[in-house]
């Protein structure tokens, strides 16, 4: 029996990313077993280190749940990239890495002397990816983009909202993880290509474009002159009922749907109204769509007097797709997720052992790639400079004394 390794064991990633899109990309690589080394600044720490929630409400650079969620298993070094000596450290790190990931605004890495041409010349089989807001070239390349802005920019907001209400956000900066995941797949494809040919390459990812990539059907519709999908709450053209319905208790809700007529018949039976399955107002999808408000009122009349968990159990027993519209607390306390080992828990020097969400898959043979929590700021600086970049102890002390490692 051979001992199987994590898929990216032995792959080193120099991670110049920050906030969420880039860190989400390198988080996937860490979950797959890569050694991810985050290059941070002590004077301008990642925004996510500065944002709550902080453990027990006590702010601190190493106490943020946001940072600690999306940087699991990574290492952290601090460099002051305004100093030439620190740029040289960064160059050595890149030359010793397989992959460089960055999500600065387009052109920033070039201006720091860490652009693709230069890094590639030093290491011909390097893979580098830039995840910028608008892409590395094109008329809008110099526009600034923050995570929340990608949702409206991509068209997703114009399609999302309650009927008759303004366009809406979607609850998170959705463009960020979507870009990060596309970026991780592109990096893996480049690693596959490198394994076969020995050649590295540069990947230009535009967060705007990856955000539109998940709206392909709507784009095709627009291109043929179909009316844009109306903002219509949780309704969709191809199923009814299809919604989130009020349950008993304060702000408790149940998502459910009848994907076809047979499921509607099962739902009608659960509602105690089996005759509705053949009622001419509801028997077919067209009829249910035509009478959707009445239909939803019938569902609500049943759900609103029941505890969400109880109602979902009854619906699922009957074969009706349903789940509590989960809050973060519902997830944290979900016995199903616990049974599936969906969470990671590693002892952290400042916040203790906290519950985090792990990768959304299990591999039957490879072990999990992440075995330690998110790093404290700069915790690995000395080790990485010595073991990866090849600096002697006195050189490291000199760099530190000059302020290059802050």
């Amino acid at each position: 029996m051979t001992t199987r390794r994590a898929p990216l064991a032995g792959i080193r990633v120099a991670d110049f990313t920050w906030v969420w899109a880039g860190p989400h990309c390198t988080q996937q690589l860490a979950h797959l077993g890569a050694e991810v080394i985050r290059v941070e600044s002590a004077t301008r720490p990642c925004v996510t280190r500065l944002l709550p929630p902080f453990a027990e409400f006590k702010p601190g650079l190493n106490r943020s749940g946001y940072f600690n969620q999306y940087n699991q298993g990574k290492k952290s070094i601090t460099l002051d990239l305004k100093q030439p000596a620190a740029i040289e450290v960064a160059r050595r790190l890149c030359a010793a890495s397989d992959v460089v990931v960055e999500n600065f605004a387009a052109g920033v890495m070039d201006r720091m002397g860490l652009g693709w041409e230069r890094l590639h010349a030093a290491k011909p089989d390097l893979i580098m990816i830039s995840l910028s807001g608008y892409g590395a070239w094109g008329p809008d390349r110099d526009k600034v983009s923050y995570g929340p802005a990608q949702v409206p920019l991509s068209g997703l907001s114009s399609l999302t909202g309650y009927r008759g209400h303004p366009p809406m956000h979607v609850g998170v900066s959705y463009g960020d993880p979507t870009a990060g995941l596309h970026g991780a797949f592109a990096v893996l494809a480049a690693l596959w290509h490198r394994a076969r040919t020995g050649a590295g390459q540069y990947i230009d990812l535009s967060q705007w474009e990856t955000s539109i990539a998940v709206l392909g059907d709507a784009i095709i519709g627009e291109s043929i002159g179909a009316p844009p999908p109306a903002r219509d709450g949780n309704r969709v053209p191809h199923m009814a009922p299809h919604g989130v319905f009020r349950a008993l208790g304060e702000d408790r809700w149940i998502a459910l749907a009848a994907p076809d007529d047979a499921a509607w018949a099962r739902l009608a039976a659960v509602l105690g109204r089996p005759e509705l399955a053949t009622d001419p107002r509801f028997a077919t999808l067209d009829q249910r769509k035509a009478n959707e408000e009445e239909l939803e009122a019938l569902v609500t009349a049943w759900t609103e007097s029941r505890a969400a968990e109880d109602a979902v159990a009854v619906l699922q027993d009957a074969g009706v797709p349903a789940h509590v519209a989960a809050t973060n607390r519902d997830l944290a306390e979900d016995p199903h997720l616990e049974a599936r080992q969906a969470f990671t828990r590693f002892p952290h020097p400042e916040v203790g052992t906290r519950q985090h969400i792990g990768p959304p898959w299990r591999m039957s043979a490879s072990p999990p790639g992440v075995t330690r929590p998110a790093p404290c700021l700069g915790a690995d600086t000395t080790d990485v400079l010595r073991d990866v970049c090849g600096y002697a102890a006195d050189e490291i002390e000199a760099l530190r004394a000059a302020g290059a490692l802050s």
Partner: protein
């Protein structure tokens, strides 16, 4: 349509799935050059029955959702509950590198999709199984549609209108849990192929859509483990302005995260007196007093045009963005210059455009090689290849 090979040329992928999740995973492979064979049941992928239809009326060969998700693939039909079809499927599995499927755990055995059986046929196979709640655990048998997965993963409760608590948690447009599932399944599958180069063996990947969604809750999940608080769509945003405003010709997203961005925006507005009020002195104060701020901002924005305000803000490095309509995207000079949209022709029906390369790989570009397959278009071709293959895995 170029002949240049993509980075994944030579990888053989079988896809057995419907709607979005498994098809998007396989699309990511296909677009980078893998040979993807999509296996449909004789009545076809349910996406074929969803609009918009390029021909303007329902037709399984013109569904926009299907055409988008299945370009660059070959398509065959097999009824996996029949013995001859199962034998053909097993021959395909013997020569495949990856199988990505979206069969529900309760339906897998009937389709011959048990991992033990397929690993015995091809020990080098990587199989990704995508299910609403994964393949194990007390809810593995539960059913879902995309809205249910989005809600079960914790995202729906984050979106709503604080002024309308009576309105339900709100989903995002489209089958977004499916896209997240497809992305994660593709990542794990390709990683497992990289691992196979070392071990010589494939493995099984169990993907949960609920967990894919739970992975993208930004900073909200940790409010409970770190501070014991429940996140809600009804809470006020701590920082403002981060909001939608109506202009005279559409909507814009006002985005001032940093104080210097707010100061620039105030200047852009001509430094109105109200902006100097103590109520709005910093981003937290503006969050607390957003009700008042909103009225002043809306009054000013209503006189502006979206495009002019967007450009003026960007010139001052303020990250505003238009609330793009679909038409805005197709007309964007930037996206056009980057060649983002691909144009295809459905013979006898008409032309359509769709999103193209989501990333540019310098040495091995994304390529559109063929349109999505008609139902069963390549059945004879693919089964003939499998029958004459030397047999067994490479």
């Amino acid at each position: 349509m170029s002949e240049a090979p993509g980075p994944l040329a030579g990888i053989r992928v079988l896809e057995l799935g419907g709607e979005v999740a498994a098809p998007y995973a396989a699309k990511l492979f296909a677009d980078l050059g893998a040979d993807v064979v999509k296996i449909e049941s004789p009545d076809g992928d349910p996406a074929r029955r969803r609009g918009p239809f390029v021909g303007g009326r329902p037709d399984p060969e013109t569904s926009g959702l299907f055409l988008y998700l299945n370009a660059n693939k070959r398509g065959i039909t097999l009824d996996l509950t029949s013995a001859p079809a199962r034998a053909a499927f097993d021959r395909l599995v013997a020569g495949a590198d990856v199988l990505i499927h979206g069969a529900h755990p309760l339906d897998r055995d009937a389709q011959g999709l048990s991992w033990e059986r397929l690993a015995a046929i091809n020990p080098r196979l990587v199989m990704a199984s995508i299910a609403p709640f994964g393949g194990s655990g007390p809810h593995a048998a539960w059913r879902a549609v995309d809205l249910v997965s989005w809600s079960a993963g914790g995202l729906a409760t984050l979106n709503g209108d604080p002024n309308h608590p009576e309105l339900p948690p709100l989903k995002a447009y489209g089958d977004q849990a499916g896209y997240q599932g497809g992305l994660n399944a593709a990542i794990a599958s390709l990683a497992a192929l990289l691992e196979r180069a070392a071990s010589g063996l494939g493995q099984h990947i169990d993907v949960s859509l609920q967990e894919c969604v739970a992975n993208i809750l930004e900073l909200t999940f940790e409010w409970f483990p770190y501070a014991g608080l429940v996140a809600s769509r009804l809470g006020a945003k701590p920082i403002q302005p981060l909001c939608f405003m109506e202009c005279r010709d559409g909507w814009i997203f006002i985005c001032c995260v940093e104080e210097h961005q707010w100061r620039q925006f105030v200047e852009l507005m001509g430094s109105p007196d109200w902006a100097g009020l103590e109520l709005f002195e910093n981003r937290l104060a503006r969050g607390k007093n957003f009700d008042a701020l909103q009225i002043f901002l809306q009054e000013w924005c209503r006189e502006q045009s979206v495009a002019d305000l967007y450009e003026a803000a960007q010139r001052r490095r303020i990250p505003f963005a238009p609330v793009s309509t679909l038409g805005d995207l197709l007309a964007s000079p930037h996206l056009t210059a980057r060649g983002f949209f691909a144009t295809l022709e459905l013979p006898g029906v008409g032309a359509y455009r769709m999103p193209g390369a989501p990333y540019h790989l310098s040495a091995t570009p994304w390529r559109l090689r063929r349109p999505a397959p008609r139902l069963g278009e390549h059945t004879d071709e693919v089964l003939a290849e499998a029958a004459t293959a030397s047999g067994g895995p490479r």
